[in-house]
Subunit: 323 residues, 2 copies
């Protein structure tokens, strides 16, 4: 019920953001990616958190919009950096327009976040922008680490988890904290919500890694084994390198270094080593660990039991990947 | 005297901005371009304007830093878009590091502007950020127009002047307005300063166009004729197309469309058409026009005659391109 209500509020608010028509391509790039949809998880976290602490979700709408605009800014620029052609089954912004135009659309999108934050009530603007800046720099750091890891040979599992915390999780933590801050939650609760979002974000990303190798193609929504084919240094590959015996390591290195024409064989052979090393269980354990941390944090919040249940439900839906 | 004083204050402040060391390349890119130097015209305008309206230049230092950081953000991203290899005789950020890293350094640099604006006194932050956002979007618009004009065939001289106003001049207008705002100048004076900066910025850019064709290589500091070789749609080329007779137009079009191996000949022949059309006088007239507007605005400001003279001096130095 509430979910539908905040979703409608949010979509209506986003639809009413004014984008200038000219110059061609600049604001169009932002409108284009915003209209590709997506689940709007991050802005919904802002509104939910505000509501659970007794605030008026409407007052948090600009904050929710800032979070969604920031998410889309990072998608526009990351897609350029990753040379990604497709997002949500549509061309990415730099493919639809061009790279230069997409750099500028991202820049303008980042500036528009601050326009939204200035719409918050006078007492909230300063802290909102301060928290936003910290989060935004951390997300840039996470993306930079992600790119540096591509050519770095001694990335540890801990390095990887810290990278996904920065790149993915701090935005969820910010979203939850911001909503609570707008609802006048105290510092202690704000900090808990930030931690909650980060645990959740890490759990979510690890689950994504897990499903990319062990998931079901139909429900996961993309081809299984993509990370393996790209030699992506996810939790699974890094853990495998930690645990492999000499023979497994030699096979792994050979499969990673050689460019094979047989994608399916590469996926199958690497997955089989992952299975020998019991990695599905290990990653599920790590996901459960972060998920349990999140649940423990919820229990500490100064909100009603009903509100806690609402938060549980939202998180469980998120982790189930329901659309 | 005062100039040396604010310059020292500024350099000292910029030197003390904290840049994290990790991840490699991210903040380094920002430090690198800031340390390439440059004349720091824009932040000096903030401090000068603050001082002329009786404010404490020290209180305006974060605003000056925000303006300098923004300028450098735009240089980092523009250099990627323009595929420029050299800036101030050194490799551009994306050549020194790489393109992806430079996109992120620019993003982080833009966020850091807001960190500086939050250091202003509480009563000034909101308006400073509001004005900054408007300026920042206009600069993005200017850069987008500049790129769109490369493939657009019906760009008018007015379109061009509006493009350089957005791309170059609004930042100068913002710098002057911001300094005055911090010194509690009234709205009328703030608006005048914004206009002053814009007139100045346009005059300055037109002078750059003029010198690129008609300047002296030694004092201009770069090779004469660069714009001509790139078929850049500056005031000169656009005005030439407006005024050329059929024969001149045919020669112009031929020189623009054909890729010649003889750069010097192309420069010479196009410059000779510009001379036939008296374009040096025409562009100097336009520069003088914007310069005179700037001078007329200074006269209207509610500041002492002494302060007006200081502003005249600064502007004249700027237009003389003294280092």
């Amino acid at each position: 019920m509430f979910k539908k209500q905040i979703s409608d509020l949010l979509e209506n608010y986003l639809k009413n953001i004014q984008f200038k028509k000219y110059p061609n391509g600049l604001y169009e790039g932002i409108e284009y990616i915003l209209n590709l949809g997506g689940k709007r998880i991050r802005p919904q976290l802002v509104l939910l958190s505000c509501k659970l602490f007794g605030g008026d979700a409407k007052a948090a709408l600009p904050a929710a919009a800032a979070v969604e605009l920031f998410h889309n800014f990072s998608l526009i620029h990351d897609d350029i950096m990753d040379n990604a052609s497709v997002r949500r089954n549509k061309p990415t912004v730099h493919k639809k327009f061009n790279e230069n135009s997409a750099i500028l659309s991202g820049d303008a999108c980042l500036v528009m976040c601050y326009d939204e934050l200035l719409k918050l009530s006078a007492g909230k603007q300063f802290k909102a922008i301060q928290l936003f800046n910290k989060m935004a720099l951390e997300v840039c750091e996470g993306q930079q680490y992600d790119m540096l890891f591509e050519t770095k040979n001694d990335v540890s599992v801990n390095d990887y988890v810290e990278m996904i915390r920065l790149k993915t999780a701090v935005l969820l933590g910010f979203a939850l904290q911001l909503g609570a801050m707008i609802a006048d939650a105290d510092e202690k609760n704000q900090t808990l919500l930030k931690q909650l979002g980060e645990e959740l974000g890490i759990a979510f990303q690890l689950q994504d890694d897990m499903l990319d190798t062990f998931g079901d193609e139909k429900s996961f929504g993309k081809k299984i084994g993509g990370d393996i084919l790209q030699n992506k240094k996810t939790f699974l590959l890094l853990k495998a390198k930690d645990l492999a015996n000499a023979k497994q390591m030699s096979v792994l290195n050979q499969l990673i270094q050689s460019s094979t024409n047989n994608d399916d064989e590469k996926i199958e052979r690497i997955t089989s080593i992952f299975n020998e090393l019991n990695l599905k269980n290990l990653i599920e354990l790590s996901i459960k660990n972060h998920y349990d941390n999140a649940i423990a944090i919820i229990k500490k919040l100064s909100i009603t039991e009903e509100a806690k249940n609402e938060l549980f439900d939202f998180i469980n839906q998120l982790m189930k990947r329901e659309k």
